[in-house]
């Protein structure tokens, strides 16, 4: 997601065109549409199978999981498995940590990039070009290109094993800034002029005019950033050591058996995996419209 640039000029238009379901209906023969339905349905089923299989495993007892041939129907151990996974992985605490991290990063990034986009579009100030350039360059500095040194900074700040460490360093956002900047530029100048005539200062204008107008963009950005924050792996691995500060995505790794002496309790692992993947998937499902908008807008 990081370094995708100005490649999709037509893509937004394409997707927008594709959106209305009522579009189309051509003189193509009907069987063509049927083949298409079949193919897409097949694709969805193939894609869904691993998820279904993981869910099925999470409902089986250990004996059922390790029996051959593999059983492909849900069984009755679902409650036991989820309770066991919840307890053993300290899932409650880890899900809270993940929630704090995902929400913190999403809300932080949105606020910070909204403010900088506002400054860049609505003010003339010395060094504006430099600021813009600096924000752009962060696209080229993902975590892997500064692993050891970033950890050093976090350690020097005393932020290891803290929520500050998990969230604040990831709050800078070129993508968000560019998104809001682009959006602000489409707002007619007359609006700011009218606000000024009415005696509204810049912050009043931001709060009462720009903010309400930006709701759709904020929601779109929120879905993308929540998913990003929830699923981030390398960062929480770097800045947390204590088990109670680990996030769910990295905590689950501890359940995977690494040696022959551990019981291969795949039903428990899959139950944990289900709990970890549910929140971001639910956010995508419930905010579907914003999610698609976010995908298009942030990749520009």
């Amino acid at each position: 997601m990081a370094a995708a640039g100005a490649t999709s000029g037509t893509l937004a238009a394409d997707l927008a065109r594709a959106v209305p379901a009522t579009a189309v209906r051509r003189r193509r023969p009907d069987w063509n549409a049927r083949v298409t339905h079949m193919l897409l349905l097949a694709a969805v089923l193939v894609l869904a199978f691993p998820l279904y299989y993981a869910f099925v495993i999470s409902t089986q007892s250990l004996a059922e999981v390790s029996s051959l041939p593999p059983r492909l129907l849900p069984s009755s151990s679902i409650l036991d498995n989820y309770a066991e996974a919840w307890q053993r992985a300290k899932m409650g605490r880890m899900l809270v940590n993940s929630g704090v991290m995902a929400l913190g990063i999403a809300l932080g990034k949105i606020s910070i990039s909204l403010l900088s986009a506002f400054a860049i579009v609505y003010f003339n100030f010395r060094g504006k070009q430099l600021v813009f350039w600096m924000i752009f360059v962060t696209l080229m500095l993902p975590i892997p290109v500064r692993i050891v040194s970033t950890y050093q900074v976090i350690a020097d700040l005393g932020w290891v094993d803290t929520y500050w460490g998990l969230t604040v360093p990831l709050m800078a956002s070129a993508t968000g800034t560019f998104l809001f900047r682009q959006f602000f530029q489409t707002i007619p100048d007359s609006m700011a002029e009218a606000a000024q005539l009415d005696g509204a200062g810049p912050l009043r204008f931001l709060w009462s005019f720009l903010l309400p107008l930006s709701k759709a963009n904020m929601a779109a950005l929120f879905v993308i950033l929540f998913v990003y924050g929830w699923n981030e792996y390398l960062w929480p691995l770097l800045v947390t050591n204590r088990p109670e500060m680990r996030t769910a995505v990295i905590g689950i790794e501890a359940l995977v058996p690494r040696s022959g002496s551990q019981l291969p309790e795949w039903n428990i692992i899959m139950a944990a995996a289900m709990m970890v993947l549910l929140p971001p998937v639910a956010v995508i499902l419930f905010m579907q419209r914003w999610f698609v908008k976010g995908l298009i807008e942030t990749e520009k």
Binding site: M1, A3, R28, V35, S116, R146, L234, I252
Partner: protein, 293 residues
Amino acid sequence: MKRSVFPNRWLPYLLVAPQLVITIVFFFWPAIDSLRLSLYRASPFGDRMIFVGAGNFQRLFADPAYLRSALTTFLFSFLVTFIGLALALLLAALANAKIRGLVVYRSLLLLPYGIAPAIAGIIWLFIFHPSYGILPYLLSFVTAYQFNWFLKGWVALTLIIVAAIWKQFGYNLAFYLAGLQGIPSSVLEAASVDGAGPIRRFFAVTFPLLSPVTFFLFILNMTFSFFETFGLVHSVTQGGPGDATSIMVYKAWKDGFEGLQLGLSAAQSVVLMAIVIGLTAFQFRYAEKKVTY
């Protein structure tokens, strides 16, 4: 440029301050520090750093394990991107009738986007599991070969490639489907009238017209497989067996945090930095030119 600007001297600086502070403290400073650190090596007792110039880089590029890791990374990224895009394009092209309900399919296809690579990896790990997994079970009817990724490097590599492709597939397909909807059917009909068959129509009309989508997805998938698959490797194969799946980001992390070779890890970060800059430059150099209609 806006005509109506708020006249205020200090407010804009205040507004960009949070962004800039984070950018400098957590992006620029560590990046510069990585560059510096890549020129040093810890003393035998770890109490001070010794300047070694390009020594770390010389060591890296003379180290077969590092070169193998680079090769693995490029192979992995190339296969994930190429197979992923080819499959998505093929399916999209076959499924190109204008139909109702495309929005529903798109929603379903995009769901795996929300699943962390690490979780995707753990699910596929079980599907590939040598004793209980459904895939080796099914394959056992076809061949006696033991698809044991615990032991065989190429099976482990296949496992993470499949998991990565799976995670990206719906996303790629959704963008190709949208791109196809944007191609005017008059163009295809014209080609048809000129006597072009379906395959020729695809290569002469559809594929070139989709080149912006392909380019965009290419960059996106390369970036993904290079930089966002750390969790996949860490949670599933841990770089193994041997170092068969030790991709560059994983190796940089491991050498730094488990091997405590800070200089060597920083040097690997610098190499990765060069790769990101290269990818970005490539993207901006060719974004407008090569891929227009």
